[in-house]
């Protein structure tokens, strides 16, 4: 395959550490809001409260991370200058605004113990905004020219969603006594399992494009993600219901694993962009399949 002195055809992202971290916190926030409302509906106030706080905290950190990554942080509010359906980031900004606003309101009212109906409304809004908040980042990365991201567009929202759910469940396990953390544990364990299957499936489907998940930093992070999340989930499943300490450790491991997963996806994008073969190869194959000439 020819290329121009082996130089990349597309650009690597310019995003730094804040972005994969935000993928994690955003997911955590989104899924926690849902978990919180679910617990409330199920009558598990303890879990609901903890998840609410976790979600609100994650919601609060998220914009800070995003703003810190901006080339012009003082212009963060330009994100709301337009309402742009074609931009997952713009859509996400609006979602984050809604989710963050709702969850922080809910958390504040919870803390103050006032205005119950408003709190409930806020919790409901946060829970509605939660699922898209947890999954839109998958679309955000998929909606680029980075082959491993774009080609993974079917799975990425699912993977990010599962990862979010896993981290929300795991985080709750860390703060809620085992007795009341059952749903969170099940969520974490189930989500880790789902996410593992999804990742495997995506890698397989992507073929050559997917090989970046086995190479370099992305590969190492993927491995770490599997080990930590898998180990954590196993710990939660086996001892999480009995030991507070194991639940905390297992929860922390799953959270760390999910963070690694986001980092792995993030790094995979860079690797995929850097080597022109990932860009040119599939396109060339497409051209040849279609029997047309390039251009």
């Amino acid at each position: 395959m020819s290329s121009y002195y082996g130089r990349p055809v597309i650009k690597e992202p310019v995003w730094t550490w804040q972005i994969p971290t935000y993928f994690f916190t955003g997911g955590l926030a989104g899924a926690s809001s849902v978990l919180s409302l679910g617990a409330k509906l199920a009558g598990n106030e303890r879990l609901s409260k903890s998840a609410l706080y976790v979600g609100a905290a994650a919601d609060a950190v998220s914009p800070m991370l995003l703003i810190a990554d901006l080339g012009r942080p003082e212009r963060f509010h330009h994100m709301l200058r337009v309402a742009k359906a074609t931009s997952p980031m713009n859509v996400g900004a609006w979602i984050l605004l809604v989710s963050g606003g709702a969850s922080s309101t809910a958390a504040a009212l919870e803390l103050l113990g006032r205005l119950k109906p408003v709190k409930l409304l806020a919790e409901t809004v946060a829970a509605l905004a939660g699922p898209p908040l947890a999954t839109y980042t998958g679309v955000l990365v998929a909606d680029t020219a980075i082959p491993v991201w774009h080609e993974g567009r079917h799975e990425l929202p699912w993977i990010f969603g599962a990862s979010a759910a896993a981290s929300a469940g795991a985080a709750a396990c860390m703060f809620v006594p085992p007795a009341e953390a059952g749903p969170a544990r099940r969520l974490a364990v189930g989500a880790v399992a789902a996410e593992g299957a999804l990742m495997q499936g995506m890698e397989l489907r992507l073929g050559t494009t997917g090989e970046v998940y086995r190479r370099g930093a992305a590969g190492k992070l993927a491995l770490a993600a599997k080990a930590l999340a898998g180990g954590g989930a196993a710990l939660l499943a086996t001892r999480g219901g009995k030991s507070r300490r194991s639940a905390a450790l297992g929860g922390a491991m799953v959270c760390a694993g999910e963070l690694c997963l986001r980092w792995s996806v993030f790094r995979a994008g860079f690797q995929s962009a850097r080597d022109p073969k990932y860009t040119i190869g599939p396109q060339r194959a497409r051209v040849e399949r279609a029997g047309r000439s390039a251009g």
């Binding site: 330009h78 200058r81 337009v82 309402a83």
Partner: protein, 225 residues
């Protein structure tokens, strides 16, 4: 001698935000006046609302245009005057337009009127403005005394006087009325002058004329390389 000035048509300062050093930190379009009316205007100019109003629902076109973009004009329209010049590099002799504002060259580009170049320029000619405004361009006389180790400052007038003295003295000391064979020479072989191919005809004329007058025969330029 200058051409009729090309006057700008808008109020965007020519050198504003060219390198992005002082971009306006605003999103909603801000105006100087205060008050409710302005606030309403400000909100009305919010692109999200303009998206609906201006038939650009996806916000990818005119609704997203900022006031600065709307008012944008080429900075050469702000030039005080434009001067027709000729590229200083090779001998093709491409036409240049030199745009001047406040006594400084603001831009140089090709002169479309030239039958030689038809407005086109090569990378060197195109970089003429960077050439005359080079960060390493010297603006002051520098003087190194015999056996000196550093450049020293020197007043231009003093330098000119010293150089004139050197010529007069060297010429007097090393004047040759005749060659060894007794042929008339009327010259000094102790002074030489180099350069001319990058200079104007008028300058070359004065150089040769002065050298003839002074009996300096070693007058040479790049044609010899």
């Amino acid at each position: 001698m200058l051409l009729a000035p090309v006057r700008g048509r808008c109020n965007v300062p020519a050198r504003q935000d060219a390198r992005g050093t002082h971009a306006e930190p605003f999103c909603l379009e801000r105006t100087r006046e205060k008050g409710w009316v302005t606030l309403v205007d400000t909100i009305a100019s919010w692109p999200v609302l303009r998206q609906l109003r201006e038939g650009d629902p996806l916000g990818r076109g005119r609704a997203a245009q900022s006031p600065r973009s709307k008012a944008l004009r080429p900075r050469i329209d702000e030039a005080d005057h434009v001067v027709q010049s000729i590229c200083p590099y090779c001998a093709v002799g491409c036409g240049q337009l030199v745009y001047v504002r406040d006594g400084e060259v603001m831009h140089i580009e090709g002169d479309p009127a030239s039958p030689i170049s038809r407005g086109r320029l090569c990378p060197k000619g195109q970089a003429s403005k960077s050439y005359i405004q080079s960060p390493v361009r010297e603006l002051k006389v520098k003087y190194r005394r015999p056996y000196g180790t550093v450049w020293e400052e020197l007043d231009l007038e003093t330098a000119m006087d010293m150089i004139a003295d050197r010529v007069v003295e060297t010429r007097a000391r090393h004047w040759q009325d005749e060659t060894e064979d007794g042929a008339p020479a009327n010259r000094t072989l102790a002074i030489a002058n180099l350069g001319g191919a990058t200079l104007d005809n008028e300058e070359n004329y004065l150089i040769k004329k002065l050298c003839v007058g002074l009996g300096i025969v070693q007058v040479e330029n790049q044609a010899r390389i």
